[in-house]
Amino acid sequence: MFFTSYEFLGFLLLLFVCYYTVPKKFQWMLLLLFSCVFYFMADPYYLIYISVTTVSVYYLGLKIEEQAEKQKAYLAAHKGTLGKEEKKAYKERVRKRQTGLFLAALILNLGILAVLKYTNFVIANVNGILHAAGSGHTIAFVDLLLPMGISFYTFQAVGYLIDVYRGTIPAEKNLFRFALFVSFFPQLVQGPISRFNDLSQTLYEEHEFAWSGFSRGLQRILWGYFKKLVIADRILIGVNEIIRNPDDYTGAYVFAGMMFYALELYADFTGGIDITIGAAQCLGIRVTENFNRPYFSKSIKEYWRRWHITMGTWFTDYIFYPISISRPMLKISKVSRKYLGNRIGKRVPVYLSSFAVWLATGVWHGASWNFIVWGLGNWAVIMISQELEPLYRRFHARFSVEDKTGFRIFQIVRTVLLMSCLRTFDCYRDVPLTFRMFGTMFTAGNWNILWDGSLLGLGLQLTDYAVLLAGTVLIFAVSMLQRSGSVREKIAAKPYPVRFAVWYGLFLIVLLMGVYGIGYDASQFIYNQF
C-alpha cells in the first residue's frame, strides 16, 4: 500500500475514526493492529521477519536488563562485605553475560538484514572474481524476499537494544507495546528511524481528539502530497528518461538530470516524511523530524546534519562514537600522534571511524557498488574539507566574507552541487557508467540543450515545467518562512477565509496537478476503428 494510493487514504481514514471512538486505553493496541494489517497487506510473509526481530530484541533486551538488576540487588545485599576488587570482578562478570546476550541479538538481527539484502550482491561479486580468474563456474542468484522497510525497523530495534545494553533506557516489559514501537506503520516504509526514548513518550499515551492538532496533521499530510505528487512524481518522468537512456542523454543532459534528481529526491523524501509525521500527528503522536531544510546547508557536513537526520544520528551514536572512542582506537590515536605529529595524529581515529560509518551508510542505502562509492565519496569530501579547515580560517580572517549574503549563497549552491554530483552514483546502472556519464559533462559541449527546447523532449511539456517552477518557488518560499517558525501556525493565526483559501487551494492543486492515476492523454481516446 503506497502512501500515494487511494487504499492508503482509506486506511488512514478508517484508522482515525476507530482510533478516536475506541476507549482510550485501547488506542495503542489499535495502532498495533493496523500496523500488522498494513504489513500483512503488503505481503503476509513480511510479518514473520518483523516478528522474529520484535520477539528476539524484546526478549534479549529484558534479559540484559535482568542482569543489571541482579547486579544491583547483589551489590546492595553485600554492601560493606565486598572489597573493591571483588566488586569489580563481579561487575565484569555481569557485563560479560550482558555482552553475550547483546551480541546474540545483534548478530541475529543484523544477520537477517545482511542475508536478505546482500546475499545476491556478494554472489554477483564472487561470480565476477570467478570470471576474472578464468573459471567458468558461476553461483546462481537466490530469490530472497526483502521485507518492506526492513532496514528501518531493524535499525530502530537495534538502536533500542544498544540503549538498553548501555543502560540509558529501561527495557520495555510488554511485548505488544514493543511490537508497536518496531512496526508503527507510518514510519515503516521510509523512516524516520525513531528512538525508543522519543517515540515511547507519545506512542502509548491516551489521546483525546483535538481539532487543532488533528488539522495540523492533515495540513502536513497535504503538504507532503503536494511535494510528492505535484513535484517529485512529475520531475521523475524527466529523471528516468535521462538516466535510463545514457547513450542518448550525455553532457548537459547529465547535469540537467542531476539537478532534476536533486529536486525529485528532496520532494519525494521530505514529502513522504511529511505524510508520516502528519499522520502520526493526527493520532497525537510525535515523530522526530528527519529534515531541517537541508538544501540551505553551507557544507556537506552540515548537510548531513540536516538531511535524513535520524539516520545520521543513528550512525553517529551507534557506530561512529563506539568505534572512535573504543580502547583500540584510543591506542591507535596515541601511536599515530607519536609518529604523525599531534595535528594529524589525533584525527586518525576520527577519520578511520568515519570511514567505517560512510562505508556502512553506503551499504545500508543499497546492495551495490554504486552506493559504496557514493558513501565513500561523501566521506572523502567531508575529510578534505576538514583538512582544509585551517586554510578556510586564514581565508576568512583575511577577507571576512563569512557573513556576507553573497558568500553564503555561494556556499549553499556549492553544497547542493557537490551533493548532486555525488548522487549521480545513485542514478546510473553501475560505477564505470557513472564516471563516464559524469565525464561527458565536460566533453560533450551541448550546453545549448538547456535553453533550446530540447528539454521538452524528456516527456515533460511546457506546462509541466511551469508547474515544477512554480512548485519549487512555493517550496522555497515556505522554507524561507519556516526560518521564523512553523508556517502552519502562521497560517492558523489568519482569519478563517484566508486559512480556508490556503488549504483548499493547496488541496485543489494536488488534486488537479498531482501526477497520479492513469493520466489523461487525448490520444488514448482517439477513435481506433472498433
Binding site: 496537478m513 492515476g517 489523461y520
Partner: protein
C-alpha cells in the same frame, strides 16, 4: 459563537462541493467535436422510453443500423445502445440498465463482441461506461470491465481520472459545460462518405477459435434475461468485412442459436438479398457501413423483424409520429450537412 461556527462549516462544505462539481464537469471530455462515440450511451436517457426494438453491441450496431429506416418503412420504434468496442458484459449490463426503464419486444445483439473474453482498453471502458446512469447494473458493468490499472473510485469521481486535463482544456469544454449536443440518431452514428472496400486482409490464424468462457457466460446471461422478461433475442453479425469473422466462429454462433432457439442473421452472407455494395456502401474500406449501406441492411432487418415477431406498425400513433418527424428532420439535416462538407473537400 457556536452558530457562527456552524454557518462557517456549512458555507465551507458548500463551496467545496460546488467547486468540485463544477471542476469535474469542466474536466470531463465533452466528446462533441471528435470522438463523439463517448456520448452515445448517455443520450438514451433523454429519450421517451417506449421502444419495440433495442440494439446492443459495438460499432457493428451503432454504425450499421438506422432506426429511422425501421420507423419510416415499418413503423418500428427502436434505439441503439452501442458504443466503441462495447464488450459483451457491457452490452449485457446496458440491457439490464435499459430494462429498468422499458421492456422492448425484441433485442438485437451483434455477436462480434464474443471475441473478447477479458477487459481490453481503459479508454473504451470509459466511453462505454461513463454515460451510464448509476445503478447496480453500472456498478457490475464497471467491475466486469476494469483493467488492472483501473480503480473503481475513478468511475465514482471521474475528476480523479481526468484531473490532468486542465492543461488541454478547449473552448468546447466551457461551451458544453451544461449544454448538450445530440450526436446520434437514436444511437445511430451517421457517416455519408464513401471508401470502397479493397484488399481486405484474410484473418490471421488463431491458436484457439473457441469463444472464451467469460464471453459465453454473458451470452447465456443475456439469453436468460431476455427469456425471463419475455423478450425475443436476435443475434446478428453485421456485414463488416473486418475484424475478420472466422468460419469457426460462425459455426459456434449457429450452434448456439439453434440450441437456444434464437434467430441468427449473418449479414455477411446476405449481400445479394440486401443489395449491399462494398464499393459504395462503406466509408472506411469495409469496416463500417456508411449511410447508404446502413439503410439497406436496416430495411432488410425490418422486414425480418416484422415478419418473425409481428411487430405492429406504430406509424398511426400520433404522438410518436410527431417525435419521429422531428428526428427525421434532424437526420436529413445531418445528412445534408455531411454531403455539403464532402463536396467542399
Amino acid at each position: 459563537m457556536k452558530r457562527k461556527r456552524i454557518i462557517r462549516a456549512v458555507c465551507s462544505v458548500l463551496v467545496v462541493v460546488s467547486t468540485l462539481f463544477m471542476l469535474q464537469k469542466l474536466l470531463l471530455p465533452k466528446y462533441v467535436s471528435d470522438v463523439v462515440e463517448g456520448r452515445l450511451i448517455a443520450e438514451y436517457y433523454a429519450e421517451e422510453k417506449d421502444h419495440d426494438v433495442i440494439f446492443i453491441g459495438d460499432c457493428e450496431v451503432y454504425e450499421n443500423f438506422s432506426p429511422k429506416i425501421l420507423w419510416e418503412d415499418y413503423g418500428i420504434n427502436s434505439y441503439i445502445r452501442g458504443s466503441a468496442q462495447q464488450l459483451i458484459w457491457q452490452s449485457y449490463y446496458l440491457l439490464e440498465d435499459t430494462l429498468r426503464y422499458e421492456k422492448p419486444k425484441v433485442v438485437v445483439f451483434n455477436v462480434l463482441a464474443l471475441k473478447y473474453n477479458e477487459p481490453q482498453s481503459e479508454a473504451y471502458n470509459r466511453m462505454s461506461l461513463e454515460g451510464m446512469r448509476w445503478s447496480m447494473a453500472k456498478v457490475k458493468a464497471i467491475q466486469a470491465s476494469m483493467t488492472d490499472e483501473e480503480h473503481f473510485l475513478d468511475y465514482v469521481f471521474p475528476i480523479l481520472r481526468y484531473h490532468s486535463r486542465w492543461s488541454s482544456l478547449k473552448a468546447e469544454d466551457v461551451e458544453y459545460l451544461f449544454a448538450d449536443r445530440k450526436v446520434s440518431h437514436n444511437g445511430y452514428y451517421m457517416r455519408v462518405d464513401v471508401k470502397p472496400a479493397k484488399d481486405v486482409p484474410e484473418g490471421k490464424m488463431l491458436a484457439d477459435y473457441r469463444f472464451g468462457e467469460n464471453a459465453y457466460r454473458y451470452l447465456d446471461k443475456m439469453t436468460k434475461l431476455c427469456r425471463d422478461n419475455g423478450i425475443e433475442l436476435v443475434l446478428v453479425k453485421a456485414p463488416s468485412l473486418y475484424p475478420y469473422w472466422y468460419d469457426e466462429w460462425e459455426q459456434q454462433i449457429e450452434d448456439y442459436a439453434r440450441q437456444n432457439g434464437l434467430l441468427y442473421i449473418n449479414f455477411l452472407e446476405l449481400a445479394e438479398e440486401t443489395g449491399l455494395d462494398y464499393n459504395s456502401d462503406t466509408y472506411d474500406g469495409g469496416l463500417h457501413l456508411n449511410l447508404s449501406g446502413a439503410e439497406k441492411i436496416t430495411a432488410y432487418l425490418g422486414q425480418v423483424l416484422r415478419d418473425e415477431y409481428h411487430l405492429a406498425d406504430r406509424r398511426p400513433e400520433e404522438r410518436l409520429s410527431r417525435i419521429w418527424a422531428d428526428k427525421a428532420a434532424a437526420y436529413e439535416q445531418d445528412r445534408k450537412r455531411q454531403e455539403e462538407e464532402m463536396e467542399k473537400q
